[in-house]
Amino acid sequence: MTVRTRLARVVALGAALALALPLTACGDGDPAAGQDEIRILVYGDATNKVEKQLVDTFNKTSKVKAVLDTIPGADYQTKLQTIINTKQAPDVFFNWGGGSITPFVKADLLLPLDDMIAKDPGLKANFLPSVFNTAVVDGKAYGVPMRGTQPVLLFHNKKVLADAGITPPRTWDDLLTAVKTLKGKGITPIALGGGDQWPTQMWYQYLYDRVAGPELFAKALGGDKGAWESPESRRALELLRQLTDAGAFGTNFDSVKFTDGGSPTLLSSGKAGFELMGSWNYSTHHDANPTFAAEGLGWSAFPSVPGGKGDPRNVVGNTNNFYSVLKKTRHPEAVAEFLKLQYSDEFVQAQLAIGNLPTTTNTEKFLDGATNPDYLKYQFTLVKEAPSFQLSWDQAYPPAATTTIHQAVQQYCNGRLDAAGFIKAMQSLQAG
């Protein structure tokens, strides 16, 4: 071997080692951090302003300091899943209650809040029960509401309805008549962002609740596969078929999305009469077209159905977001103090100021001072008086079920699946 090639080998080896070195350096983490702090992990969006403010308030008086971490946007659940059982796990984290925390409860990672509630009953009593119950798993409370509630409402374009001589439907027959009238005028009766799939799911959630009450879905979620093939289930599917057969959503709804502004524009431009959507729809319209949000946008509760067992006051949607606590937190007392802030007056006012509707019992007295008191009061009363607040199906089930649910609701709605196919798909889900 010549000197030249030996030199080359040495150089190459050196380069390889240099490249490999930084790789071995990671993975150790810094053990010094995290002694006297609690880390709070939240979904990164505009509401972080309020979370930051509350953390600052907490840190003014607490010896243990709270640190707020945010994970931006849609990656939240994925990132959370990958860190929750590692050293980087937070002490307190944002979630959607229900199925979003069930796997963590089953893996024995979360702290039941019952002891904290025993010490401070306000941690439970100061929240609307229908909302608080979303984060109860196997009879134990695992979360405290920490943002605003988002019930699903039947929105309409006031001008389109007035021109057609229609009032917001109170019964299923009213809705079918309205659909017929609007279709006759060449207007898509109901805007549906079927491309996003979850807007389609909202119709199922309400129809199942109105036809059978919340029990049917609760049974199905608990693992009773017979629930999906019950007569009530078939009846709900039949009602939805009536609607699609009547041309309520037009023909191209699966190409329309809510998230890219497609279906909201249909409603605001008067090309559609109704849209079933979460309460965030108001801010969506407010951002795109403030005049329409203030003057043209109307809303009502989902109509009752003939012979339905469900209470017409029931609502569905996202009950709220929750803070849950990791079992291995070193500062449970500090965490309890932090959670108490979630029903403080400061919290309620800060949330209302950015357009969220908190679900604490003291919310009501601040509603008059909010920017759109009519809309907020309507929602708050609706949620407060609702005997049941059904969490969205895709959030009630663990994340593993989401894809199957979304595909099934889309495919039955557009006719690719018949009732039997839909039932079979839903029966394939693992219990929540």
Binding site: T5, A8, R9, V11, A12, L13, A15, A16, L19, A20, L23, T78, Q81, T82, I84, N85, P103, F104, A107, L109, G194, G195, Q197, G250, T251, N252, F253, D254, S255, V256, D260, G262, T265, L266, K271, P399, A400, A401, T402, T403, Q407, Q410, Q411, N414, R416, L417
Partner: protein, 313 residues
Amino acid sequence: MSTTTLAARSVPEQRRARRSPGGPTLSRPGFAWALPATLFFGLFALAPLVLVVVLSFTSWAGLGSPEFVGLDNWQRLARDPVMINSLWLSVLLTALGVLVQTPLSLLIGVWAAGPQRNRAVLSAIFFLPLLLSATAVSVLWRALLDPNFGVPGQAPWLFGDGNLFGSRTGAIAVLVFVGSWQFIPFHALIYQGAARAVPAVLYQAAEVDGAGRWGQFRHVTLPQLRNAMITSVVLMVVGGLTTFDTVLILTQGGPGTDTTITAYHMYEQAFRSFDFGAGAAIALLLVVVATVISLIVVRVSGYDRMRSTMEGL
């Protein structure tokens, strides 16, 4: 490989090589030179691949430690109708991509190889999509193809009710179209380069023999572009089988599962359903299928014993 003359080698170099037949064999640098690259490849390609193999025999949701479940994931895959369908879809989309993109990029590339200034300007504009990320391209087309407020809303005579993303045929057509829009410039570039390397003497000879424009294209250009075509098709096949971003943004595998190609199905299983075991199994299957198809293409096309197109010159 080492004994055949590579097509990519420039002409003067070949001439030089021929002038010293049977000369000293090229001394190749030692393995040590390849060490950094090998290490990188090992760490970022082989090690993850091994981990994926291991993971495919476990059940893991990202919580706790992976649990060994034997062939469970594989048996479930074999019974999963979405999985089997997704393989066909991947192959279908790839085949459609090759069929649409090859003739178009061939024609554009050969046209753009001409020396005229207007061609240079136009091809510069035409290559713009190449500079955009797949994400940007997909978001753009999603908006342009909105049934009510996009192009289909303005041209009902062509698109009907505009339900492009709501029907199987429509969604597949959109994916093929957007993929072609994005990648034809790249393949045209390959053909342009190859077409420019065709020696002018061949055309002069063909002209003397009385070949017209078409005859020259058919009998000179096409045979000369054979190796470029193989390269381009192999790239299209591998790229097509691993397409992911356009599907994620344009159709999310929908309507239903109509455009759930294998790569997207893997994403759904692993990162939506948190079933990393099943996701790993799908990933492995995709690796095997893509490798086998690439090998078949290489064999059938003769890429592995690629002849120079310069023989006899």
